[in-house]
Symmetry: C2
Subunit: 360 residues, 2 copies
């Protein structure tokens, strides 16, 4: 059992990490809800864990409703947010009621955004059920939905009251999604923790068979890193942008293929390989280091190259990225493995060179 | 020419008040926009003032686009927000671009919400073109849209970079809307400024004929009051709720009649009369004082009684109000004219009594 604190300037809150969901809820839920609450989940997760959470809330003598959404990135849009609002209005939820996000990153991002904007802000709790959301998206207060022309274009910075990361829920996660989560784990190592990269090279097989100690260590180490970065830069004016390592390229891949064809973590994995090539072009890392990254991704059953599509499409997709500033695209690169930095790109021919081997 | 500062905890910004829009823009626009901007207006206001604002932006060498929405409270919903997002995406607006809200309260609330949520927050400027929005809604960072089941249920607290209040734009305001603005002016007097109530009783005729000095005085005095309240309580945890004087009843009237049948200010005017009756019931004010309020409203060509509809409907509409807390309805009442306080209502029969004379 670990508790980490996230010291975001706008709100300080705990991340609880423990072996089982039921023990976590029993120990800590009472501190964080005081009146009516609504659990929002999807039709994949609800049959598995909704009852556990409902029972825990009811044992506190608190009214609980649920809103069950269709599963998938495809539904991460304003229409689904409206469905959440409709449910909250129908059940007459108030500003002091609590929303509980029970699911992966898509559920967490959407519920966070609904919480940020229902009656101009109500409390919410994250119960992430995927590795990706446990180590990344549930922490730090980035909430939102996709626009038809770009990913996560609509949203708000809004912090949860608490994050409940239970390791046992990962047992029902499909292997492909588990691997997608490992992409974000590897990202933390690449952007700021070289020793953790070495550790991952040594322990990838244990992780792949869901060894409890290894998993606990990984969730804790990633959340600690994320908490440190969010505390330093909640609104992404500076170092928080490092967390986008692989994401500008990854978003272009997701946009090109259509949301959900590749999982977000898969796109980020391939995006990190492109970021490695860009770091090579800048003279920062060596091809052998890119190869180390690719090998680790392979062992995590992740793509180690992007799909092939035209340069014009890459550039069109990337220009819609939120990291564009004054028309200049900003990429996260690695000065060395374990040390990220921002590269404001004045001349896009270097990006084209980094992608060269994968262009049609 | 006046400049007032709003010291909201999240952001400090100026309200500029001057005789003409063109002089205001010339003096102050350059300080507040640095790159591309999008003016959002409606099809009533755009023909009158869009060109003035466009020209002022272009003189600064800055690219400017516009999004023109249909006029009316009826369009204050998420669908219209999506249209704004679509325009921003189409023109590839970035986080550092600026949105300009050119219009009344509906435009200001919607543009503020779009700015709060596009790419998790971009800067915006308020150019209020109605008396109501100049003295009230453009200041203080309440943004949002209506839900089919309740007014302003979806939104965010998000402060503008600056407010440009030009008195000459009020010359094109229909008389009925001007009067609606006076309802909010009278509200400031009733909630916290007894001397201003006396002043209004003396100067109502000058105001009704748009006397420039009287108008300038009123806009300045109301904005100063609003700024003081927002600085003390940005997120409406305490005294900011005073600004809702007449609004709980007013919202019920608007919901019952359908948004836009009565103007917001008209509903608030009638709502304040009900709040007077409730204050009488509590033993705070005398029937003669309610009569003074009604007489001032009449002179401002505002309704001084609510429409007649069933008690059950009043209560149903009011229970959806954001000011409901733990199931207890909270009303703003007057301890005396010029001194508001919050009344948490344990027994709704007193509300029924306050409405008695207007129930069918």
């Amino acid at each position: 059992m670990h508790t980490l604190m996230v010291d975001a300037p706008s709100h300080r809150y705990p991340i609880y990490i423990d072996a089982t969901l039921s023990s976590l809820l029993e120990k800590h839920l009472a501190e964080h809800i005081t009146k009516d609450c609504v659990i929002v989940s999807n039709d994949t997760i609800a049959p598995l864990y909704l009852k556990t959470v409902q029972d825990a809330v009811r044992r506190l003598g608190i009214r609980v409703f649920d809103i069950i959404l269709p599963d998938g990135e495809h539904y991460k849009n304003l229409n689904t947010i409206e469905k959440i609002y409709d449910g909250l209005m129908r059940e007459r939820m108030e500003r002091q009621s609590t929303l509980i996000a029970l699911g992966g990153g898509v559920i967490g991002d959407m519920v966070g955004f609904a919480a940020a904007t229902y009656q101009r802000g109500m409390p919410f709790i994250q119960i992430p059920t995927t590795l990706l959301s446990q180590v990344d998206s549930s922490v730090g207060g980035k909430t939102g939905v996709n626009h038809a022309l770009g990913k996560n274009m609509i949203g708000a910075f809004y912090q949860p009251q608490a994050v409940f990361a239970a390791l046992d829920v990962l047992n029902t996660l499909p292997e492909r999604e588990f691997s997608a989560g490992l992409a974000e784990v590897i990202k933390y190592a690449l952007l700021g923790d070289a020793a953790f990269f070495d550790w991952l090279e040594t322990h990838m097989e244990e992780l792949m068979r869901h060894d409890a100690d290894a998993l606990s260590y990984v969730v804790h180490r990633c959340c600690a890193k994320k908490a440190e970065i969010v505390a330093a830069d909640e609104k992404e004016k500076g170092i928080r942008a490092w967390l986008n390592l692989g994401h500008t390229f990854g978003h272009a891949i997701e946009t090109e293929l259509g949301y959900g064809v590749w999982l977000h973590g898969e796109a980020v994995a391939a995006g990190m390989v492109v970021a490695c090539r860009l770091s090579e072009q800048l003279g920062y890392i060596m091809p052998q280091e890119t190869q180390r990254v690719q090998q680790l991704l392979q062992r995590a059953k992740l793509p180690d190259t992007p799909p092939s599509f035209a340069w014009e499409k890459w550039i069109a997709h990337m220009q819609h990225d939120k990291k564009v500033e004054s028309g200049t695209m900003r990429f996260v690169v690695m000065r060395q493995l374990g040390q990220a930095e921002i590269y404001p790109c004045q001349d896009i021919s270097i990006i084209q060179k980094s992608l060269q081997e994968w262009l049609p």
